[in-house]
């Protein structure tokens, strides 16, 4: 073989111009979920005129606000090929810490918020330390911390909900008018967090390293990426995001509720999976997760408006999760 010849082995995909625009759009993992979201919105808009109104759309975003925020942290962790079962319980703990300190102890609300964020970040850090330090599987670690956070929440709160009236703590529940519709600051803040996470994951080295670690941890390590530090950062950041979700939850309900968030761990995983992120790590996007969270919100709201019993919303969500993963697997098998 001549050493100057350009190499293009048989059976290789056409590489002349790279993937076409259409091909790239269709293989972008967020496109499928986006099409589904649009179809769902169209379907319910036809079924009921009450669906596609500014008020209802604003309500949907408010309803997905807490799970949607938790799902940002969940996405980060799943991208590293991990999983977090503890996020709902950690969020509940954060809520109680903030409410208890601000209401019962009379602490400055800002300080109470900071301490709440510190508590949830500490839980994230603990998860990360156990995963990287002792090399325990994330599923087991976060199953443990789920129970620990749940117990601490109930011990610390004495099983009592705490009503919050501080305008600082409920700021994110307040609304401002946007094109005739009242939008909460919390909704905007959640979207802003998504944009920030999207930017970091897509356009910074640390973000690309998250994908590399989830995709091939050994290769990532051998290229000189400090994979332990990266994982620790991811889990701690997720903890911080859960703290923000605590604050959003308080703002939405005006209470610190020790029983909040009990299914949020699975709901956040549902949003991630519906958004096209692979549970095996290294593939997916946080924008997909936002779409996934909105899909759940749209279906719940739509079925409710159409008058379907709420248990069917759960049934349909379950079917969608399986469908999403099956489609993901099928498309992977075809391209691989």
């Amino acid at each position: 073989m001549s050493s100057t010849q350009t190499v293009s082995p048989p059976g290789a995909p056409p590489t002349k111009t790279g993937p076409s625009l259409v091909g790239r759009v269709l293989t972008t993992p967020t496109v499928g979920p986006l099409i589904f979201l649009v179809l769902a919105i169209a379907f319910f808009s036809i079924k009921s005129s009450a669906f596609l109104t500014g008020g209802n759309l604003s309500l949907i975003v408010q309803q997905v606000m807490v799970v949607g925020t938790l799902a940002i942290g969940q996405t980060l962790i799943i991208l590293t090929a991990g999983i977090d079962l503890s996020n709902g319980a950690v969020m509940a703990l954060g809520q109680i810490v903030i409410a208890k300190l601000a209401v019962d102890s009379g602490l400055n609300p800002i300080l109470a918020i900071l301490l709440g964020l510190a508590a949830t970040t500490a839980f994230g850090l603990a998860n990360g330390s156990l995963v990287t330090g002792l090399r325990l599987p994330p599923f087991i670690v976060t199953l443990g911390t789920l129970n620990i956070a749940f117990a601490l929440t109930h011990i610390y709160s004495n099983d009592q909900s705490i009503t919050v009236s501080s305008s600082t703590l409920t700021f994110f529940g307040k609304t401002f008018p946007l094109g005739g519709t009242d939008v909460t600051y919390g909704s905007v803040f959640m979207i802003a967090l998504y944009v920030l996470a999207w930017y970091v994951l897509k356009y910074t080295a640390s973000g690309r390293h998250v994908y590399a670690v989830g995709n091939n941890p050994e290769a990532a390590r051998l290229t000189g990426i400090n994979t332990r530090k990266l994982l620790l950062t991811v889990y701690a950041t997720a903890g911080l995001i859960y703290g923000i979700a605590s604050l959003l939850s308080i703002a939405r309900t005006n209470v610190g509720d020790p029983n909040a968030g009990q299914t949020d761990n699975l709901d956040s995983i549902t949003a991630v999976v519906l958004g096209g992120t692979s549970l095996f790590g290294g593939r997916g996007s946080v924008i997909g997760t936002l779409i996934g969270a909105l899909i759940v919100g749209v279906i719940r709201s739509g079925l409710q408006i159409v008058g379907v019993e709420s248990i069917y919303q759960v049934l349909i969500t379950g079917i969608l999760v399986i469908l999403a993963v099956a489609l993901d697997q099928l498309s992977r098998r075809r391209t691989a």
């Binding site: 290789a12 993937p19 091939n216 050994e218 290769a219």
Partner: protein, 278 residues
Amino acid sequence: MTSSRDSTAAPKPVLQARDLVKRYGSVTAIDGADFDLLEGEILAVIGDNGAGKSSLIKALSGAVIPDSGEILVNGSPVTFHSPIDARKYGIETVYQDLAVAPALDIAENLFLGRELRRGGPLGSVFRLLDRKRMVDESREHMANLKIGIKSMKQAVETLSGGQRQGVAVARSAAFARNVVILDEPTAALGVKETGMVLDLIRQVRDRGLAIILISHNMPNVFEVADRVHIHRLGKRAAVIRPHEFSMNDAVAIMTGAMVGEHIEGAPEVPAAADSPRA
């Protein structure tokens, strides 16, 4: 480095080891091994399974820390605590099957762990990657090595096995200043793709880098190597030139069937001999 190749001076050693020892409990994986890699050559390392060649290579690439002995880069003693240390001395390793992140694209893989950021506050404050420059430099680099892939934005998993190996080799060649170590680069490849990777190895050498090629494939070794280091029982048994010895001789040395006077014709360090590429 390039100029000395054209001169009549003997090629200088780039990477050497003296009397390396590595024990794992009662097993001695490296038993006083010596090693010499000269500038601008392809040195194949062969040896039977269990001869300790992979331990030797790991010590040279920083993946294993030897118990005793000396490693020299360009004549100066060095200590490697990790592959990252070795990389600081311009030694890059392509690990078998471990080299790439399949879901990331070619440019991202080439620059993984060494990403380029934009200049100014966009880079320093917002940590924004210079995607265009990485794609452009990747394209240029792949073209220099005559790897025929046009789009740097396609995921590595869409490539054939040979092309993937090409990406892994290109990454190492792009960042190595002294040595590229290739661990079984053709192990999983078909005949045609193997030919492509061997061509690529020659391309990398012709760009002035010294190459260590670990391979089980004797015909490949004899086709591409300038010299062959034969490892046996944890140490160097001989260094031969492919055109002076047959594959059967090499196997005989590997297994211990040929020793002593038969291989004296191949001095262990042919520094006084002609250029390895003559």
